[in-house]
């Protein structure tokens, strides 16, 4: 999927991945790819400015930890991050429901019907 299409939702995706378990940048990008069956295959470096921005906003906290023989910065959700994720999840579901209702083939046929 094109990076531009995902960009507006990157924060939500990162919070969603880290809600399952704390992780470092490489683990996050791998989880995004695997959980989306390869559909979300982003430019990998783009994840770091987004993680840092979310940390600055208080939605994530991070610490250096040894993982798999390397020193990595591990990110985890803060209480504020969990609250934002819950809010954004609700908004996303409402949007998806609304768009699906508009795009539903039956509705299109009805609009075109005499």
């Amino acid at each position: 999927m094109k990076v531009d299409r995902v960009k507006g939702h990157l924060d939500l995706l990162l919070l969603g991945v880290l809600a399952a378990a704390p992780g470092h940048g490489y683990a996050v990008i791998t989880a995004l790819r695997e959980r989306s069956d390869g559909a979300l295959d982003l430019t990998e470096g783009a994840v770091y400015p987004a993680l840092h921005r979310l940390e600055s906003a208080g939605l994530l906290a991070s610490a250096w930890e040894p993982v798999g023989g390397r020193r990595r910065r591990v990110y985890r959700l803060t209480a504020a991050g969990r609250a934002v994720l819950a809010e954004e999840r609700g908004r996303w579901r409402a949007l998806v429901t609304a768009v699906e209702a508009v795009l539903r083939p039956a509705r299109l046929a009805a609009v075109g019907a005499p």
């Binding site: 378990a21 704390p22 992780g23 470092h24 940048g25 490489y26 990008i29 430019t43 990998e44 470096g45 783009a46 770091y48 400015p49 987004a50 840092h52 921005r53 600055s56 906003a57 208080g58 930890e65 993982v67 798999g68 390397r70 020193r71 990595r72 910065r73 591990v74 985890r76 959700l77 803060t78 209480a79 504020a80 609250a83 934002v84 819950a86 809010e87």
Partner: protein, 259 residues
């Protein structure tokens, strides 16, 4: 000299382009990029690619260093957003503080109803009261037996009604804060809850200690005259401090780590 690997070359470029970033942020970015690129190269190598090509692919997947630095520059906390969070948090906390003052006014009114004017206000025995003040106090409290009694009644009025007025102002402040918070999105509207709760617990804790100290002082020095003005405020401040402290303890509970 061994030639630089593709990962080293990339990190050099990243360090050069990112020279304008805050040092700590650049250091973190370089460390994270290096770990990530080696992880990605390891993954490529397990697929049978040789070391050099694996690093090239890892670098390509990571994206141009220039894009990364631009993204990082944008990630620095926008000052405007931080300033708005400070304003909303300050409005909310001041509003809650003013409501607490209002509640202490209601408690003071109850104390006054039971113990009389002298339970929430006092005039030091050695204080001289001038004639024009006396005239004003006696005009406001015509049933008072003396100028001193009228002064105590007037100060008791102030203790109760000024505090109740502060409570009304607090309700207005909190209402404005809630509207702003709702507009901004509840979860992002305020400073980190740990900061807000620390300020709340600290400020109300200090207020509780001060009012309690003043109350005890009035018991010791003035035989308890007017001590109700302090003892009506201390429990309210203490309750508010406890509320924020409990929230803070909950916030500080660390989410368990999973790898």
């Amino acid at each position: 000299v061994t030639p630089d690997t593709p990962i080293e070359t990339y990190l050099d470029e990243l360090a050069t382009l990112g020279a304008g970033l805050p040092v700590r942020r650049l250091r973190h970015l370089l460390n994270e990029a290096e770990s990530h690129l080696h992880d990605a190269a390891d993954a490529e190598r397990t697929g049978g690619t040789d070391e050099y090509d694996a690093q090239l692919r890892a670098v390509a997947r990571f994206g141009p260093a220039r894009d990364l630095v631009r993204g990082e520059q944008r990630a620095v906390t926008p000052l405007r957003e931080l300033a708005l969070q400070v304003v909303r948090s300050a409005l909310l906390l001041s509003g809650i503080a003013a409501i607490a003052v209002g509640v202490s006014g209601a408690v003071a009114a109850a104390v006054r109803a039971i113990g009389g004017d002298g339970s929430v206000a006092a005039v030091a025995p050695d204080r001289a009261l001038n004639a024009s003040d006396c005239a004003r106090w006696l005009a406001l409290h015509p049933h008072a037996a003396s100028c001193r009694a009228a002064a105590v009644a007037d100060w008791a009025d102030e203790t109760v009604y000024y505090r109740l007025a502060a409570g009304v102002a607090g309700v207005l402040l909190v209402t404005v804060a809630l509207v702003l918070i709702r507009r901004a999105g509840r979860a992002r509207a305020l400073l980190d809850p740990r900061v807000v709760d620390t300020i709340g617990a600290g400020a109300f804790g200090a207020a509780a200690a001060w009012t309690l100290g003043m109350g005890l002082d009035s018991v010791a020095v003035e035989a308890g005259r007017g001590s109700g003005q302090w003892f009506s405020a201390a429990p309210v401040a203490l309750a508010a401090a406890a509320y924020f402290a409990i929230r803070l303890v909950r916030e500080l509970r660390v989410q368990p780590v999973m790898h």
